[in-house]
């Protein structure tokens, strides 16, 4: 059952799917992501249902600042590109380039996270606490859940980077890196909807 590995031919063009275990991981992770889709949809739905419920507290229009959100968006979008480039490097067996691109992804993710924390602290100063209103609760929950995903993704990719710092690309770690990059893209996809639905519609939405 275990696929035989022919080391002499070189790294196969899709190393993440060269072994059965890799194919299983790949598919299992896509299924997980589809489950995540509907879970995030539920949180988005809760936010959309409750966003008018400010209970006299600060509203979206009063709080949100587009420049900050724009910078955060750019950071996350770019980190998505760098992880794409890392995967290209992986397929070409260019270990060093892959590590550099992945590390860049982590750095960009960290910058994003820093700005998000700054943003939350700022909003709390302006009077939007977690328990202030249904709008506040659902805003912090939705965006915070995305933030938690970022934290988990950063921890995950960093662990991979440290664990495999010197190993080169193998058929064991290629699926791991590939799946981690899928996860990172998914975080970015969710953010696209957050900046659209939460921030832009919060400011400009009728």
């Amino acid at each position: 059952m275990a696929d035989h590995v022919d080391m002499t031919k070189g790294l196969p063009s899709n190393p993440e799917k060269a072994t059965l275990e890799g194919r299983n991981k790949f598919l299992g992770f896509w299924i997980f992501l589809s489950g995540e889709t509907i879970m995030f949809a539920t949180f988005f739905g809760a936010f959309l249902g409750l966003r008018e419920g400010t209970a006299g507290g600060p509203t979206a229009e009063e709080l949100f600042q587009l420049p900050l959100v724009f910078i955060m968006t750019m950071l996350l979008l770019t980190s998505s590109l760098t992880s794409v480039l890392a995967m290209y490097a992986m397929k070409r067996n260019n270990f060093k380039a892959m590590m550099i691109w992945m590390s860049t992804t982590v750095l960009l993710g960290l910058a994003f996270l820093g700005l998000e924390i700054y943003e939350f602290v700022e909003y709390v100063h302006h009077g939007l606490g977690y328990t202030t209103s249904a709008f506040g609760s659902s805003f912090y929950t939705l965006v915070g859940l995305h933030g938690a995903h970022v934290v988990f993704g950063l921890a995950w990719i960093s662990t991979l980077l440290i664990r495999y710092a010197k190993s080169g690309i193998t058929l064991t770690n290629a699926p791991k890196f590939y799946v981690a990059s899928l996860y990172w893209h998914f975080i970015d996809v969710v953010w696209v909807f957050i900046f659209t639905v939460v921030y832009l519609m919060g400011i400009g939405g009728a």
Partner: protein, 627 residues
């Protein structure tokens, strides 16, 4: 290669307890699911008996209202999440890899992890009895009854216990899907898969798409209860209907999650004992898919009386009625499978065939309930209770019993006693109809559900008495089953042949007891019902698809068990946040639990574990022992 045999030897030297705690073998995990599910089933069944004793006579004082509320909540929650789901998972775990010709599931480690997380989540829910009482807001946990102001500590156990066991169920479901998609034997195309695999695949998909909204909903309720979020309090802009929506977006597919594998079991048992192939296989597959899709489009029928509006109610009413069509297709296909077949009425077949009329009764009342105007009358009466017990007991439990009697010889190497089996079936079946048929009428004359007593002289006394006697009869049937299991383990003749029922699918081509690697050589599948095909067109044995070669096996691991404990501790710490006088600060519990959980995950991630190989020589030796 020499050191691998040392590993095997070491594996054999493990104590029995360690072997079961560290196992990643799908067959052992199947048995563990079976045991855990049975224990939870007996516990929740006992609660039902207590409730029926309370309702036997008007104005009875056997239970007080609070205890009764805790019993209805725990009965429903345990039966759905911790009894029916794991019992179905037991069969899915054990049978799917055998039926598709695989050596194991796709992720053996995740399989063990799913079991232990489910188990410890269930345990966390159950220990609520020792901390001021179980949850009491009904299994649906409607807000505001379950939210911070009204729900007591039990609801925290509900929220966090279910969250944890839900994660276990979710990862197991992902595992089943990947197994079915990626691990099929050569020639086993999707449309050659046994129907049980198909329904399991669809059920697992439903779990992925339904348990995730539940996770979201439970998270909202948890944040509301523990951290003062305002989702459900209208004073702060919240909305109580939000919870109902999220709960039923999960809750309605949950019904299909449970009933579809039961459909699958029935679709295996009926052809085997009718000695005919399943009638309308393709139609069955597509009916399953349609039921699954429609199952997501109908949840508002649980909320007709909320007052969302006439158009919404109508749309969801029509969608609900539409489910009757694919279900009808299935019913007729089972009937046509039996039609003209050479029927054998043993216990498994009795359960399977009696499933059909019982389920029709449950389905008919379902269509009645889907009509909005009359639903205003039925809502929250015993009519609803009767309806869903016809689906769940008459559908799922009969399916489970049929599966148990059918697969028992393969799983444990001996038959269950047929005489005791017949006795169990008739006691259970008569008791079931006695219990629940009169509840239709009780509901129609206005007996509300979830109320712990009723007044004398309202025409409800006799029927409640009948219902309670029926419940006792049904429980006696289950006791006979337990006696049967013990009796058969001691006295029943061992099964040595691989195919005692002369059945049709691949699991019956493996030797009994099944070796750890299931198939020494992966079989080549040439048709639907592959074993039957070989019996007719071949020599009755599966042709191998590969030469005899080394078999790759996964290593056992204690980490799933430790992660389960970690989540239990972490969850318990979270509940302590709401305890009034906890002995130690909650964070002293949360942090170790958190570290244990993620630490174990880190260990798993960092340590590469490639498993071991059973070499050809060892394989030949093992195969000789088996035959």
């Amino acid at each position: 290669m020499a050191d691998y045999s040392a590993i095997i030897k070491e594996k054999k030297d493990k104590s029995v307890l360690m072997d079961w705690l560290t196992t990643v073998d799908h067959k052992k995990l199947g048995v563990m699911y079976l045991i855990a599910g049975t224990l939870f089933f007996l516990k929740a069944g006992l609660m039902a008996v207590f409730m029926r004793i309370q309702l036997m006579f008007p104005e009875s004082n056997f239970l007080d209202g609070q205890t009764y509320n805790e019993f209805i909540t725990m009965h429903g929650t345990i039966m759905l999440f911790l009894a029916a789901t794991p019992l179905l998972f037991a069969f899915m775990n054990y049978i799917i890899p055998l039926q598709i010709g695989a050596r194991d599931v796709a992720f053996p480690f995740v399989n063990a992890l799913g079991f232990w997380i489910f188990f410890f989540g269930g345990l966390l829910l159950s220990v609520s009895w020792f901390f001021g009482g179980a949850p009491d807001a009904g299994w649906t946990a409607y807000v505001p009854l379950s939210a911070g102001d009204y729900g007591h500590l039990g609801m925290d156990f509900y929220v966090i216990g279910l969250q944890i066991s839900g994660i276990g169920t979710l990862i197991s479901a992902i595992n089943f899907i990947v197994t079915i998609v990626n691990m099929r034997a050569p020639g086993m195309t999707m449309m050659r898969m046994p129907l049980f695999c198909w329904t399991s695949l669809v059920t697992s998909l439903l779990i992925v798409f339904a348990f995730t909204p539940l996770a979201a909903g439970l998270a909202l309720l948890m944040l509301d209860r523990l951290f003062g979020a305002q989702f459900f309090s209208p004073d702060s802009g919240g909305n109580a209907v939000l919870w109902q929506h999220i709960f039923w977006i999960f809750g309605h597919p949950e019904v299909y999650i449970l009933v579809l594998p039961a459909f699958g079991i029935i679709s295996e048992v009926i052809p085997a004992f009718s000695r005919k192939r399943l009638f309308g296989y393709t139609a069955m597959v597509f009916a399953t898919l349609i039921i699954a899709f429609l199952g997501f489009m109908v949840w508002v029928h649980h909320m007709f009386t909320v007052g969302i509006g006439p158009v919404t109610n109508s749309v969801f009413a029509i969608a609900t009625m539409a489910i009757g069509i694919p279900t009808g297709i299935k019913i007729f296909n089972w009937l046509f499978t039996m039609w003209g077949g050479k029927l054998t009425f043993n216990t498994a077949m009795l359960c399977a065939s009696s499933f059909v009329p019982t389920f029709v009764l449950g389905g008919v009342t379902g269509v009645m309930l889907s009509m909005v105007p009359v639903d205003y009358l039925y809502h929250d009466t015993y009519f609803v209770v009767a309806h869903f017990h016809y689906i769940i007991v008459g559908g799922i439990v009969l399916g489970l019993l049929a599966g148990l009697y059918y697969w028992y010889p393969k799983m444990f190497g001996h038959h269950l006693n047929e005489k005791l089996g017949m006795l169990m079936f008739w006691m259970f079946y008569i008791g079931f109809h006695m219990t629940f048929f009169v509840q239709h009428i009780l509901g129609l004359i206005g007996m509300p559900r979830r109320v712990y007593t009723y007044l004398e002289g309202q025409g409800m006394d006799t029927m409640n008495l009948i219902s309670s006697i029926g419940a006792f009869l049904m429980s006696a049937g289950i006791i006979v089953l337990v006696i049967n299991i013990v009796y058969s383990a001691l006295k029943s003749e061992r099964v040595v042949v691989s195919d005692p029922w002369d059945a049709r699918t691949l699991e019956w081509s493996t030797p009994t007891p099944i070796p750890e690697y299931n198939f020494a050589q992966v079989p080549q599948v040439r048709s639907l019902d592959p074993l039957f095909y070989e019996k007719i067109h071949g020599d009755g044995k599966m042709k191998p698809a590969e030469p005899l070669s080394d078999i790759h096996m996964p290593n056992g691991s204690i980490l799933p068990f430790i992660i389960g404990i970690g989540m239990f501790v972490w969850g318990f710490g979270m509940i302590m946040l709401n305890m009034e006088n906890a002995i130690i600060t909650p964070y002293a519990v949360i942090i170790p639990g958190f570290l244990l959980t993620f630490g174990s995950m880190l260990v798993r991630s960092i340590k590469e574990d490639h498993g071991y190989h059973i070499t050809v020589e060892e394989l030949k030796k093992l195969e000789k022992e088996v035959s």
